[in-house]
Chain length 373, copies 2
């Protein structure tokens, strides 16, 4: 038996796509620390710290704050399978790819999704949500995406949550791309259930999904009439392991080394401070924006809704999308993102996320684009 | 804001519990290589290699062979949500904790589980399965655990699969602990769907679940009458990303660095050769067994059913279970496993898995136990 496959040595790229973002050497080194048992007291202590650090990043006091042992898509599913019961009517605001995935989740949980549609590249329109809430008094939950990774658009989460609450609906908010990159206040805004990803503005390797649930969401889960359809994501079981009361019940084997990486990235967020991180993301975005506009490259999102960490720009006329991205990758070790769904072939998505949000990267990307175009 | 949390530095333990097992420096170093984009051609090429290496480890030609982006529990759920439809009758053989978890999965998929029970510490009795198959001609699937991690018992997978097939049932087989530690021939035995874990005899960090499905299983999935309840684990979608046809459709963001680790561990399996790995696991088991028996410590599993990679032994009379494990951990940096479920407080589970299956560890564990007892 000789497949003849040898060790894989990844080159060092500059990752300026929609995620994963560049991971710092500190975080990479943390990933390589010796594996501990998932019930080892030292490891369990580190999990407690991750919880505290995530509470800070989310700006919440929620007890039910932890990292799902799987990517953001599973974090999304964790929110839906726990909070949606068969027959529930859920209002889903869609303005890109990920609202569509929310609808899939609702329907696979046996719920009915009432869709509130906005154009791709636009923010969720609060007046459309209000209309839907008035038209569907039977709705029990509103779900929307704070920062649409497919379009680079930010919606007004605070207003949307407050509308939902005025109609006695719980909320599920996707912050995969917003967490740490742009202001987010879970408790202040009253978000009931939230999920994010490790590989965007946290700049940890992909594969973990930070989540948080407030008391109202936890009560809804505890008082379900039906069993949660996923064993792996059943919060009643998972919390026996993550709960901070000193007794850890085995549920599944935690991804130990990935959690080392997440811990280190969260320590770095704490060191910088959230507000400073938000400012850094905004400043680098403004510098990139200026440089791109000087080159005649235009943003597809209205200024007020632009995500500083994910810049969606129109591919200039006559330019070969794939060829340019290929040259950036091969000649410059630089990854930028293609369009997704309805925007495929029309836009590039240039990320300035987490560790990758740095003036050096702004300049590098602008220079590379100038050379290639 | 000062939580005052600093970087986490894990000590180097010797992991001889039920998993995670010791991870080699080669694999740890691989985890720390620069993160690539999940659609980067170099990364995608590495995924193709993982597929080939997993086909070798599973001894299969199955096209549908890949690693679920989450721990073994999610690999289990991946098999059940794809293969079980509401109303299906599934025969589940239980002889430990994980058969019970299979039942949970069946029921959460809307199926009915017919349980075939054997005592914890015993193998699955083929005659009981045959009896159940005769009594339930409506059954469509048989699920069982090849290597019960909770008890250290190996069952005769080849015979059980052949009985299931004689009654026109598909099979789901849990090989979380057996893969690479003990002979396993997916194609030769005709296993239809199989899942494993990265953190046992592969000695990669926890968080990934290798799976494989044969054509018969794939056909069943394609011809389902109902939608798969999990979006994250829907094989019809996941395969758009893992399929080796050169076009990768974005499904979720793969856990890039964890896959580096899995790749490296599989390269090491290929270098050693599967048969050599099985022999090594058996030899070290026999050495540990001899040493433990010399100390008057007895195995709880009949010799013919013992798993070489997971040794379940009775805690000697009068010995304080937790105190001994605590001293081993604190004084010797040595982790052994406690009992689980019905065996909690009654047994220790001493792992000799993957990289940890080494004569040095056999001696170290015996010496440490002698010192502490």
């Amino acid at each position: 038996m000789t497949l003849g496959i040898t060790s894989f040595h990844a080159p060092k790229r500059t990752l300026m796509g929609p995620g994963p973002s560049d991971v710092s050497d500190r975080v990479l080194k943390a990933m390589a620390r010796p594996t501990l048992g998932h019930l080892d007291p030292l490891f369990v202590g580190m999990m407690d710290e991750i919880k505290q650090l995530l509470q800070y990043a989310f700006q919440t006091q929620n007890e039910l704050t932890f990292a799902v042992s799987a990517p953001g898509s599973a974090g999304m599913e964790c929110c839906f399978v726990n909070l949606v019961e068969p027959g529930d009517v859920i209002i889903v605001c869609q303005n890109g790819v990920f609202g569509g995935r929310m609808r899939e989740n609702v329907e696979r949980c046996g719920g009915t999704a009432v869709m509130v549609q906005d154009d791709w590249g636009c923010a969720v329109d609060p007046s459309k949500l209000e209309h839907a809430l008035n038209a569907h008094p039977e709705a029990v939950l509103v779900a929307f995406v704070h920062a649409e990774t497919s379009t680079g658009v930010q919606s007004d989460a605070k207003t949307l949550v407050s509308l939902a609450h005025a109609h006695d609906c719980l909320t599920i908010v996707d912050t995969v791309t917003s967490l740490v990159g742009t202001p987010l206040y879970v408790d202040d805004w009253g978000i009931d259930a939230i999920y994010s990803g490790s590989q965007k503005c946290l700049s940890a390797p992909p594969g973990l999904s930070p989540v948080s649930f407030n008391q109202r969401a936890a009560d809804k889960i505890r008082n379900r009439k039906t069993k949660i359809q996923s064993w792996f994501l059943d919060l009643n079981l998972v919390m026996g392991y993550w709960a901070g009361d000193g007794k850890r019940a085995y549920h599944h084997t935690a991804p130990v080394n990935s959690l080392y990486g997440l811990h280190e990235s969260l320590v770095m967020v704490q060191e910088e401070g959230l507000e400073a991180a938000w400012t850094r993301h905004r400043d680098n975005h403004l510098a990139l924006q200026k440089g791109l506009e000087n080159m005649g490259i235009h943003f597809v999102v209205d200024q007020q809704y632009r995500l500083p960490q994910l810049n969606a720009v129109a591919i200039p006329n006559g330019v070969d999308d794939a060829a340019v991205r290929h040259r950036l990758l091969v000649d410059f070790n630089l990854e930028i993102g293609s369009g997704l769904g309805a925007l495929a072939g029309k836009v590039w998505r240039i990320g300035l996320m987490g560790h990758a949000s740095h003036p050096r990267n702004v300049d590098y990307c602008l220079d590379a684009l100038k050379a290639v175009l």
